[in-house]
């Protein structure tokens, strides 16, 4: 699904990722953990193709293609989804309208017919239940006036509608209270399937109590210092990151 080899990424001329290797197979859930400033969000952004994140070395292979040559919307249509850490507000643009445009762009790319309004609404209603989105969300502008938790739920809701192959969740747990976290995690779990891979970028182990990863990686200073099973997350929770760094040094 996703194969990252020796990835170096610079932002504003400063090297942030310094040789990341990562291999995610279909159906797997990988957690990327690490202290602040380790490069976690950079990894998420570079996968989605944000401007200003320059790949200076290495490669990103996605379904056998070089991902770095694709524009952000092309990646999205190919099935790469980023759940943003800070979802932006877009005044005046209706939430549901954005979603319909996005879904139809993706479907068109896949050679599927576009959904008409009735089919689309049926799909939306079905998926809204997954993350318990409030009804009035349909008529609101994109993320405008949403609470932090609502914004995060909206990201997962979009994930549920757009059905990507590879979803990257950038600190989706931050700012969520325990109940909201459970709702989001249940939503994500229900979307797991053998064809869909997940990359969870997170600071805390908390999310991993609900979404059990196949592999956990520790990213620090732009490199993956240690990888392991889900028990690694618990160890990190208990001991912090310093020992990983010390061991790697």
């Amino acid at each position: 699904m996703l194969e990252i080899k020796n990835l170096h990424v610079a932002v504003d001329g400063k090297e942030i990722l310094k040789g990341v290797n990562l291999h995610v197979r279909p159906g797997e859930v990988h957690a990327i953990m690490g202290p602040n400033g380790s490069g976690k969000s950079t990894l998420a952004n570079v996968l989605a193709g944000r401007d200003g994140y320059v790949v200076t070395k290495g490669e990103i292979n996605y379904l056998g293609r070089d991902l770095t040559t694709l524009e952000p919307e092309e990646r999205a249509r190919e099935g790469v989804f980023l759940a943003f850490q800070y979802p932006v507000e877009i005044p005046g643009v209706n939430n549901i309208y954005l979603l319909k445009a996005a879904l139809n762009a993706i479907r068109k790319h896949r050679g599927q017919p576009e959904l008409d309004a009735v089919e689309f609404l049926a799909l939306v209603r079905d998926r809204m239940g997954l993350v318990k989105m409030p009804e009035d969300f349909m008529s609101r502008s994109v993320n405008e006036g949403f609470s932090g938790g609502e914004k995060k739920r909206n990201e997962i809701f979009q994930l549920a509608v757009l059905e990507p192959r590879l979803a990257i969740l950038d600190e989706t747990d931050s700012g969520l209270d325990i109940d909201a976290l459970r709702v989001v995690a249940d939503g994500v779990n229900s979307l797991r399937n053998p064809e869909r891979s997940l990359v969870l970028v997170t600071h805390y182990q908390r999310l991993l109590d609900y979404i059990i990863p196949d592999q956990v990686h520790v990213l620090s200073d732009g490199r993956i210092l240690k990888s392991g099973g889900k028990e690694l997350a618990l160890e990190l929770e208990a001991r912090g990151y310093d020992w990983v760094r010390a061991a790697a040094a």
Binding site: P72, E73, R77, F84, V88, V93, A101, A105
Partner: protein
Amino acid sequence: MSQPNREIEQLVQREYEHGFVTDIESDTVPPGLNEDTIRFISAKKAEPDWLLAWRLEAFRTWQKMRAPNWAHVHHHPIDYQDISYYSAPRSPKDGPQSLEEVDPKLLETYAKLGIPLHEQKLLAGVAVDAVFDSVSVATTFKGKLAEAGVIFCSFSEAVQNHPELVRQYLGSVVPMGDNFYAALNSAVFTDGSFCYIPKHTRCPMELSTYFRINAAKTGQFERTLIVAEEGSHVSYLEGCTAPMRDENQLHAAVVELVALDNATIKYSTVQNWYPGDENGVGGIYNFVTKRGDCRGANSRISWTQVETGSAITWKYPSCILRGENSVGEFYSVAVANNYQQADTGTKMIHIGRNTRSTIVSKGISAGHGQNAYRGLVRIAKSAANARNHTQCDSLLLGDRCGAHTFPYMETKNSSAIVEHEATTSRIGDDQLFYCRQRGIAAEDAVNMIVNGFCKEVFRELPMEFAVEAQKLLGVTLEGAVG
């Protein structure tokens, strides 16, 4: 799809059928302006003496006036002697006769707007008065309107058939000497639309006028007068277009609206005059005076405009809120791309008690465009409990354009509440990226965000106009971002 657009194209196309000439041969007077020109126009139209006298008085007033210089626009002085003040297609059969003869770029624009030129059919519900250069070409649906007692005809016909109404209301909202361009228009106006809605009548259909400047070196000076009697209701749409020419052409129209007790007039404009090319060459100077008089109690006048065209736009559709409880509204989207300049806004003059006004202005600047909102809210001492709310937002696309806000608020009544808010924004990189991450192409994302920005105005437009306006915006801003 826009019905008025279909109408006009059909009219044009109908004429296309028989033989063909590149330019429509027009009955055009040589450029120049003096009293003889005015006598010529008046004679050509067989006008009554009082109207000629009125024109001449306006001309003499105009001669003593100077062009205004306070607007935030720059242009070379206009040579008023180099303009032709009368141009009429010689006969309907002389029009362009095949699609190949229509400017391909104009066709391209229409195609982008989704107006299929080749299959236009009369769509019931819209009556069109099409003004081609200076004269009114055809008015449809006259019969159905007549049943309802509604008079909708060209201004020239109104002068012939309803002189008493014209005489009563002409110049009663925009006096002949109101401003430089209004005075010029009063002297030389050639045609336009006239509309009269009798008492307690709801006009059975949307009324529409379509303006087009075709001949070179002509000015267009149309005059529109709408009178809504007690308890009547009318919605009026106005569309404008002009082919590409590399010289500047002047369009100085006057629109007067009169709303009596409990009457409502809704006036919508989609203005797409030729804006000049991407280097600022050519384009229409759109210097227009539009004013509505809420003369009666509980009357309402609502202006909605989408201004995407013209090299320079200078217009301030205004409301005089004279009647008690009368309501004035102004909803505007103005775009200035490339080297376009727009100085537009409104005046809300509160005179009556409990009068209310709402102003929503959305300015979009791109390229080297300069976009200014200029608005006056005046609360007279007599306007107890008057209310105004103004929201004025600017969107900048690129770092070479300008967005300016010049509101004037003058209040003389302590029970009035006047509020003004203005903001400036651009399309954030993060907004664009967010949309693209969801699979939406950058250009579509920009369109989506721009349309979101304009939503409050678009929803005031009649449905088919709103669709056209949205598409027009997309065409106008093509290439402005990214």
